[in-house]
């Protein structure tokens, strides 16, 4: 392991989990209500309730999956490169040397903004190298962005 000094494994903010949880809850709730009302209108109220419960259970499964996904996401700033690992079913680990960064994107959608979060994405000249960290607290995103930019500047290399 290179650059283990001072490289702590970090995770996205716990607020990302809150955000994902809210997203899944809203979507599953809406779907359950719609499916339940639809089934109730087509047949009996009992069927409607059963369908709604089934969809809600599906939402719980999705919640479990999203939770695992959130937990699997970690990143590590090493001396020479950024290490991002993610994925539950398909596990991925990306190592991107600072010198290879072309640019850093920090984006925040409306939902992310409501939770004061941002997504950071590192671009290299290779299309395949995807180093993306979602759900960073704003300060952390800004700090990481500035640090990456400075390091990229210091260690830049040609194509």
């Amino acid at each position: 392991m290179s650059g283990s000094a001072g490289s702590v494994t970090k995770s996205p903010s716990p607020r990302l989990w809150h955000m994902r949880r809210a997203e899944v809850a809203v979507v599953a709730g809406l779907l359950a209500a719609l499916a339940g009302v639809g089934a109730a209108l087509l047949s009996s109220a009992l069927t409607g309730a059963a369908v709604a419960v089934a969809v809600a259970l599906g939402g719980l499964v999705a919640l479990w999956f999203v939770r695992n996904r959130f937990r699997a996401w970690t990143y590590q700033e090493r001396d020479e490169d950024l290490l991002v690992s993610r994925g539950v079913l398909i596990r991925r680990l990306s190592v991107v040397p600072y010198g290879r960064m072309q640019f850093v994107d920090v984006t925040a959608g409306p939902v992310e903004r409501a939770y004061r979060l941002a997504t950071l994405k590192l671009h290299t000249a290779a299309a395949a190298s995807d180093a993306r960290i979602p759900g960073l607290e704003r300060d952390e995103a800004a700090r990481l962005r500035d640090r990456l930019a400075a390091l990229g500047e210091a260690k830049a290399a040609g194509l």
């Binding site: 290179s2 079913l89 596990r91 991107v96 290779a126 395949a128």
Partner: protein, 457 residues
């Protein structure tokens, strides 16, 4: 224009015959059309006016284009200005050149003209094209551009080149025939199946087969015409490829611009021990987003023996071949169709990987070009204790895949490859000068990140 020296700060025009060549093919087509309709005696006066107006307009446009186009070599930049209403002024930093081509389409060749194309990283919109220059002037300008690219005085004469490989045309024909043979055989099988199942449909499907065979003709012709007389030469300013039957092209790729070399062995070529060699030259996220990045893939050897291919790879990359390791036997269940080819290995300078099902792909990637190292572990792989390590170079799908390595080895590989890439990068002498694009987070930097540093060469 050809008498003027190319040096200096003066603007140059393209060759006066350029409009003729540029509109030549369209003009001929329209003339043929006019002659045809005239011979039919169908056209009334009015329609003839239209038929003549079109080529005249095209010719006028070509002449105007010639009038408003000018270029000059301004120290480290080639500047091209064109456009009448929308002025397009293009500055091509010599340091960022990925390749220089001298193309001679048939008509231009007959008139002793040539087109110079300067390719940069990123989309083809960024290319600089000078069509057409006198042949000698084009060659001279190429030499100046490449000399400047390597940081030499532009007046340095073009260095002598050493021919590495010449592809015999007979072998080229054989390879093209074999390539299309697999398609023909497939069609034949389909035909036989149809004939056995539905004898009545034979006539109809036979007709279809004939159409397919005829359609194959232009394809075969195009490959033959573009790769006829294929020669690869090495000179201090780069690898030079010459090819073409009626239209000829000479491409020059400065050394160290090669991101990866790939050897392809199609099924029907394998008994003959033939292979094709391709190289990837940087296509980097230009104006487009990172995922829209383009690659430039060039054929380095359309057909040749394995030993020739490997020799060529060693010359281009200046690398030796690392020892290969096979994935463990348990990977057979996960990759039954490609297991027989899978192998990978690396040394301090190069990563090498073999993949493929029917065709065998062998990729060599110089570690100094590594953009990122990735480990991917799918559900089946995890159960078998396997993982795949990707070494990415600039562009889309330019990578060496260490498929199905044992899990702990793969994890070690990621760190080792990242470390070796770093030291390989540091070994390469960096004489680069920043081109002024501040890299970082600002949107402006994001739009023009083609390259922050001139080539490490």
């Amino acid at each position: 224009m050809s008498d003027e020296p190319l040096a200096g700060e003066t603007w140059h025009r393209l060759h006066p015959l350029s409009p003729v060549v540029r509109s030549g093919r369209g003009l001929l087509a329209v003339l043929a059309l006019v002659a045809f309709s005239a011979s039919q005696g169908l056209g009334s006066g009015g329609s003839h006016v239209y038929e003549i107006a079109v080529p005249v307009a095209a010719a006028v446009a070509a002449v105007v284009n010639w009038l408003v186009t000018r270029w000059r070599l301004d120290g480290p930049t080639l500047r091209i200005e064109t456009g009448l209403l929308r002025r397009d002024s293009r500055q091509l930093p010599v340091a960022r050149i990925q390749a220089v081509d001298v193309a001679r389409p048939f008509l231009a060749r007959a008139l002793g003209l040539a087109e110079l194309r300067v390719r940069l990283a990123g989309s083809s919109h960024a290319d600089g094209r000078l069509a057409y220059l006198p042949e000698q002037a084009a060659l001279e300008l190429r030499a100046r551009l490449l000399a400047a690219h390597h940081g030499l005085d532009p007046a340095t004469p073009e260095p002598a080149e050493r021919v590495l490989v010449t592809v015999p045309n007979g072998r080229l024909v054989g390879s093209v025939v074999l390539s299309s043979a697999s398609l023909v055989i497939l069609l034949m099988i389909a035909e036989v199946v149809v004939a056995l199942e539905v004898p009545q449909a034979l006539a109809a499907s036979g007709g279809t087969l004939a159409v397919w065979l005829i359609a194959l003709g232009p394809l075969v012709w195009r490959r033959l015409a573009s790769q006829y007389g294929f020669t690869v030469a090495e000179s201090p300013d780069g690898i030079r490829i010459r090819r073409g039957l009626l239209s000829t092209v000479a491409e020059t790729i400065p050394g160290r611009r090669v991101q990866a070399v790939r050897m392809v062995e199609p099924l029907l070529w394998r008994p003959l021990g033939w292979c094709r060699l391709e190289i990837d030259v940087a296509g980097s996220p230009g104006r487009d987003r990172a995922d829209g990045s383009r690659r430039m893939r060039m054929t380095l050897l359309p057909v040749g023996g394995q030993d020739v291919g490997r020799q060529l790879m060693r010359t281009v990359l200046g690398a030796s071949e690392p020892a290969l390791r096979r994935p463990p036997r348990r990977a057979r269940g996960k990759a039954p169709l490609s297991y027989h080819f899978l192998a990978s290995g690396h040394d301090a300078a190069t990563a090498m990987a073999v993949t493929g099902r029917l065709r065998r792909f062998t990729t060599w990637l110089p570690l100094e070009k590594t953009q990122s190292v990735r480990l991917v572990e799918g559900p089946v792989q995890r159960r078998l204790g396997l993982a795949t390590v990707h070494v990415d170079a600039a562009g889309r799908d330019v990578r060496a895949e260490f498929r199905d390595r044992p899990g702990d080895e793969a994890r070690r590989l990621v760190d080792e490859l990242a470390m070796l890439s770093r030291s390989a990068r540091q070994r390469v002498p960096e004489t680069g000068v920043r081109t002024g694009h501040e890299h970082g987070i600002s949107p402006a930097a994001g739009q023009q990140p083609a390259e922050r540093v001139s080539p490490p060469d």
